[in-house]
């Protein structure tokens, strides 16, 4: 037993040395062989990074709308695009918020905390002296808005209940508006021109980034409802933002607010809802199929490239066995057993695959960093699980592709191999 173990140890050490010799002696060939694995591993890790990145970007974006906020709106997020379903619904009115808040106050164990009205423009522009910003998103709300939004202020303050009630011409602006209109000067206290009115800046939101890469929270311009109506008149884009007590019980909250809204709308039990209650789960359910699709396509592409790589390695190992028939014969004559030879060739192909895997990993880590450097907003994330997974895949590829040639080598007849020219 002891002798067997020693033999195994020394033989394995010898095989590893020989494998390194062999790889170093045939650098070009080894590299071309490993290329299949390199491409496969890059594909796997980039795929994993992309999926992780989608998750990450999604989490970031969800944090922006708030995990504990649900929205009462005219149309539903999860069936966006089916406008004909929603066209004939009555508009949501800002005073619903008042009614909802009254009910919350009267309900002792309500899942809801506070309702905040929000009226917005589809698109607006803002001007300061000769600077003009298109694509500004104007929003009228009340003093409770910060309870339902994730944005902190980097400067100034939010408007007070008094300002809100009076509809004072004051606003809090997103970071992009602040840097766009006031690149070299403080923005607090300046008057921005919106349509035909002037409005004073009293606060600036901290930079937040884009929501799912589509919609920026940094070009928001938040003002009291009264001010909004003075500037834009009544807008049909109204939502009620509702903060809930516990995001784990969002479905109960959802039921509660649905019941509340039905009462407000005076719907009879047979009538369908003529409003929508939206929460971030709707996005998740839309995103999951996309993620799965990417994963399936990714596994397929990755599998193909690894398969091709494995065939390449098998081929090269067969050639290597053929070339080294004499060496195999000699080793057998000197006392190498079948498993010694088997192991030697397996170690060689596994080593090539491992090196390929490592090169692949380094390549995709570099690509990840390059992406992060060039496009900081693009969500990518590299995980240690990916490193382990790709190394495991490399080893498995090495074993699978090296097995057949290694078995062939181990079964060679020593007498004829020694005479092989």
């Amino acid at each position: 037993m002891n002798l067997n173990y020693r033999q195994f140890r020394y033989e394995t050490g010898e095989s590893m040395k020989m494998a390194l010799f062999q790889i170093r002696a045939n650098k070009t060939r080894s590299f071309l062989t490993a290329l299949g694995v390199i491409i496969g591993i890059v594909a796997i890790t980039m795929m994993g990074t992309a999926i992780n990145g989608i998750d990450l970007g999604f989490e970031k974006s969800l944090a922006m709308i708030g995990y504990d906020v649900i929205y009462v709106q005219k149309s539903s997020w999860s069936t966006m695009g089916q406008w004909w379903k929603y066209r004939n619904r009555p508009d949501i009115r800002t005073d619903y918020a008042v009614q909802i808040n009254r009910t919350i106050a009267d309900t002792p164990r309500s899942e809801l905390v506070v309702a905040v009205p929000q009226m917005s423009t589809f698109q607006a522009s803002a001007r300061y002296r000769d600077r003009l910003l298109q694509q500004v998103f104007s929003l009228g709300t009340n003093q409770d808005y910060p309870l339902t939004a994730s944005g902190d202020l980097s400067e100034g303050r939010f408007f007070t209940p008094q300002e809100s009630a009076a509809g004072d011409m004051v606003c809090v602006i997103g970071d992009d508006i602040a840097t766009g209109l006031f690149p070299h000067e403080p923005s607090i206290g300046k008057a921005i021109r919106l349509k035909n009115s002037n409005i004073r800046v009293i606060g600036v939101f901290r930079k937040q980034g884009k929501f799912l890469g589509l919609f920026s929270f940094d070009n928001q311009l938040v003002m009291p409802l009264g001010a909004f109506e003075k500037i834009y008149g009544k807008s049909p884009f109204v939502s009620i933002r509702i903060k809930i007590r516990d995001q784990k019980r969002s479905s109960q909250a959802n039921e509660e607010i649905t019941g509340l809204m039905r009462r407000i709308r005076r719907l009879s039990p047979s009538q369908e809802n003529d409003f929508a209650v939206n929460e971030q789960m709707a996005f998740k359910s839309q995103l999951d199929p996309i993620k799965n699709g990417i994963a399936v396509a990714g596994i397929f592409i990755t599998g193909m490239s690894l398969f091709v790589g494995a065939i390449g390695i098998m081929n090269i190992t067969f050639v290597s066995v053929k070339e080294r028939t004499r060496e195999i014969g000699l080793r057998k004559a000197l006392g190498a057993r079948r498993r010694t030879i088997l192991l030697q060739f397996l170690i060689e192909s596994v080593m090539i695959c491992m090196i390929g895997g490592l090169i692949g990993l380094v390549t995709s880590v570099s690509i990840t960093f390059a992406i992060r450097f060039i496009m900081p907003d693009f969500p990518v994330r590299f995980s240690p699980m990916l490193v382990l997974a790709s190394l495991a895949v490399s080893v498995i590829t090495g074993v699978v592709s090296g097995l057949a040639p290694a078995v062939t080598a181990s079964k060679l007849d020593p007498a004829t191999s020694l005479r092989y020219e």
Partner: protein
């Protein structure tokens, strides 16, 4: 003084099937080698001497008959048992030297010890000793490509000696060497024989066979003559 037999072969035959023809490479051979024999096996090509060498060297097994090597029945052994016998009992020297070109002399010589499970320090020690014994103590770290034919064959002899085998089996060891170098190699074999080793040479050169003390001539798979001098 009768010495003990190290190899005993009884009615040993080896058949090859060539298509629908059966060729008798060895035909009921009875042969004995005693400890410290220094023998040459001779014969024209096709006489069966390579087949005999493969069987003596445990690279191949006979179709029928008995082969006992150092007290062990070899004829019915499987691949891995044969590998162990080759490792322990036989030191090979080949016509084409068969050194691994990437390894230096020391690493080439210690190769059989790796398969025997000998520890690295001891391997190196013994490999050095063997190289010194064949007069290459100053060439330890050279690679085969940096050596002459005679030197390469001496490295191969050192490798054959390293595991203290029962027999040294040399297949045309001078076949690729010039006359002067051949005689140099034969001198080493002579010294090894005097030191008590059992040596079996396969050759077709008369003047090489003349260095040995026993000449076995094969013809058509049978022993034609077996003379001691």
């Amino acid at each position: 003084m009768p010495t003990r037999s190290i190899i005993t072969m009884q009615s040993l035959s080896k058949l090859y099937e060539m298509g629908d023809q059966v060729v008798k490479a060895l035909d009921s051979i009875n042969l004995d080698f005693r400890l410290n024999d220094y023998a040459a096996i001779m014969g024209p090509s096709g006489s069966g001497k390579s087949t005999l060498m493969n069987i003596i060297g445990c690279l191949d097994t006979p179709t029928s008959g008995n082969y006992e090597l150092n007290g062990q029945q070899v004829a019915k052994m499987d691949d891995d048992e044969l590998a162990r016998i080759r490792n322990r009992e036989i030191g090979f020297v080949f016509q084409t030297f068969n050194l691994l070109p990437r390894l230096n002399c020391l690493r080439n010589v210690e190769l059989p010890l790796i398969y025997a499970g000998v520890a690295p320090e001891e391997r190196e020690e013994r490999a050095k000793e063997a190289l010194i014994r064949v007069g290459l103590g100053d060439r330890i770290t050279h690679k085969p490509a940096e050596l002459s034919g005679g030197q390469i064959q001496r490295v191969a002899i050192a490798r054959a000696l390293i595991n203290k085998p029962s027999i040294i089996l040399a297949d045309e060891p001078t076949g690729n060497l010039d006359t002067a170098t051949s005689h140099e190699i034969m001198k080493i074999f002579g010294e090894l024989s005097e030191a008590g080793n059992t040596i079996i040479l396969i050759t077709h050169e008369e003047d090489i066979a003349r260095f040995t003390s026993r000449i076995i001539r094969l013809r058509d798979g049978k022993i034609e003559s077996d003379t001691r001098q």
